[in-house]
Symmetry: C2
Subunit: 270 residues, 2 copies
């Protein structure tokens, strides 16, 4: 299956554009779970079991696993998702970017070791460093374009020939990098006007949209400015707003409630 | 000890600006070692034992360990370096870059889990994403500026107000990001004129220079265009040119010979 086919199937499975970010930080886990020696995996399993029929994707944040020496729990989480939610995409949020022979190893790590469907990558080193990822037509390559953090514009907004840098990235994605149709772009919900500009340049490319929920992005704006003409084209991520919706014994139900509400809100506007 | 003090001690210890890149790829290891279940560690130990009196730093490439599920061997390699070469810097080449709370986890991974002295980071997401690294005055933050790969200029060379993007990164590093004096910049040996431009903007900032050896950069040019007025300011990396200098039983001696030759060549020109 090509990546666009895989993504369409993920959107279709439950009529959802929602992605749940799996960003477990041991200090923030419910007390009952945090004591386990594989607390991250236990937590993720509970979240996935409670939300699998509401989402098109899960996005594990690599830093949460790397800082906790929990690569085995990341792998086991992805295996659990495959069993419970076979249609859901797994987007490994690792923001890779390195020279060609090294990039090939990062592609192997994401797609073989972890078996991810897609991985986030950083374009600063140029298109040749993305090629080992782009060459995998069955996997998605999610290129940082206009991110959701407060200081995103410091570089991404610099004017190049009268247009901000992130629009050059968007144009390179549309014109040069997307021969296999497997490129996605990260465009943050916190910058809705930028979302509209990138959509105008890239009418067909799917966006991964972080920044709703804890970071403050507005869902209606995201849909009206970022959706494709077919009402699709968006994978809208919420991490902390869903996984930490509750902190007690009912954290999984609270996560489900938050995921249901965000899914419904998204679908109301598209 | 602050990071600049640590770096000065590393340069002084053996009068060397040479950094050896520890990029072990199992398929390329000598046959006698490749059969071991911890071949990467065995190889790295042999390289470190053979070169520790010739270098100022070792630079493990994270992708080599991540793609091989060998985080434990990365950690053991760093512990081995601490025992054999206590003055040498360990620069973790992971090219991290993510939003603030995630960046803090990547900083914890590099500096606590692995105990690295410095880590490479990508500036595309802006200075707020570098802050958790920059705040650690005892550790180095090695910011990608002008990289050594063939396609580096595709983004880094875009004109911003009449100057290429990488010079804006250099200026931000000098003007905003270096309050703790712990910033380094990656400037590739394959672009000597760019090295001179960045040095002119950043007279005091140390550079990590990849691209000599296998990638073709010229040592004389690197020194004449990149060294600081004090003859220091450079950490010159070679990975494949040293660690794969020989492929037989004498690979460690061959690596030493290559390291000795490159160290001497560097010192001849400064």
């Amino acid at each position: 299956m090509t990546f666009p086919e895989r993504l369409n199937a993920a959107w279709d499975a439950h009529g959802s554009l929602l992605c749940v970010g799996l960003d477990p930080v041991v200090e923030r886990l419910p007390a009952a779970i945090a004591r386990s020696s594989h607390a991250i995996l236990d937590f993720n399993k509970a979240i996935v079991d409670a939300t699998h029929d509401l989402v098109c994707a899960y996005k594990p944040q690599f830093a949460c696993y790397g800082s906790a020496a929990a690569e085995d729990q990341l792998l086991a989480t992805i295996e659990h998702i495959r069993g419970v939610a076979p249609d859901a995409l797994v987007i490994l949020d690792a923001k890779r970017g390195d020279i060609g022979n090294t990039a090939a190893m990062y592609a192997a790590e994401a797609f073989e070791r972890y078996g991810a469907d897609a991985v986030t990558v950083n374009p600063y080193m140029g298109g040749d460093t993305l090629k080992p990822f782009l060459d995998r037509a069955d996997r998605g390559v999610v290129v940082l374009c206009r991110t959701s953090n407060p200081g995103a514009a410091q570089l991404q907004g610099l004017p190049v020939d009268g247009r901000p840098l992130y629009l050059h990235v968007a144009e390179l994605a549309a014109r040069e990098w997307n021969a296999n149709g497997n490129v996605m772009l990260v465009v943050g919900a916190t910058a809705p006007d930028e979302l509209a500009e990138v959509r105008a340049l890239c009418p067909g490319i799917p966006f991964l949209v972080p920044g709703v929920g804890a970071q403050g992005g507005d869902v209606e704006q995201v849909i009206s400015k970022g959706a494709r003409a077919d009402g699709l084209g968006l994978v809208i991520n919420s991490s902390r707003g869903i996984i930490y919706a509750g902190g007690g014994k009912d954290f999984a139900q609270k996560a489900r409630d938050a995921a249901q509400e965000l899914k419904d809100t998204i679908n109301r506007y598209r």
